[in-house]
Amino acid sequence: EDQVTQSPEALRLQEGESSSLNCSYTVSGLRGLFWYRQDPGKGPEFLFTLYSAGEEKEKERLKATLTKKESFLHITAPKPEDSATYLCASVGGSYIPTFGRGTSLIVHP
């Protein structure tokens, strides 16, 4: 059974304080590892897809990386507008996405 575990559940940062979110996954035949951002009261918004270990993707202050067992979402010099819940999901041999429970990020000014 595919599993995705995200940590920490919640993270509070000061503006400018860089940090990383973790996504550990167990999946047979990884076909993609995905990161989404979800703002309160809205649907998740797609951020990145990673396909193989060693791959990295960047967008503004966010950088996603992938190893054979984990993915990290690095946030560099975050701003209050980066506050959101970040979701990780994997797609493996079953082709059915498996989501983690998310990390709630709050960035204080």
Binding site: Y36, K42, P97
Partner: protein
């Protein structure tokens, strides 16, 4: 933004009544999904569709049925609503599911429907 709408956006209903939620897309994507999101559980897949009239169950399908008669519409029905089905429901779409190459599996989500069963 992907063209996905959900209706209604909010609904309050009584236990035992039938409820239908609608998802409409303008992207012509083949795959459509229904999720529910609850505190402590994250997103859980209810049903999904891989084409017109082609649907399959997800991990929490009991008490739910779906139909897809057109590419653009995916309906979720609660035959007899229960309080445990109080949740936020999200529809999602994805472009294709290519079994040979990696394909394009990322999903695009609608704005959600908040359903309360009293």
């Amino acid at each position: 933004d992907a063209g996905i709408t959900q209706s209604p956006r909010h609904k309050v209903t009584e236990t035992g009544t039938p409820v239908t939620l609608r998802c409409h897309q303008t992207e012509n994507h083949r795959y459509m999904y229904w999720y529910r999101q609850d505190p402590g559980h994250g997103l859980r897949l209810i049903h999904y569709s891989y084409g017109v009239k082609d649907t399959d169950k997800g991990e929490v399908s009991d008490g739910y049925s779906v139909s897809r008669s057109k590419t653009e519409d995916f309906l979720l029905t609660l035959e007899s609503a229960t309080s445990s089905q109080t949740s936020v429901y999200f529809c999602a779409i994805s472009e294709f599911w290519d079994r040979v190459s990696r394909g394009s599996y990322e999903q695009y989500f609608g704005p959600g429907t908040r359903l309360t069963v009293t």
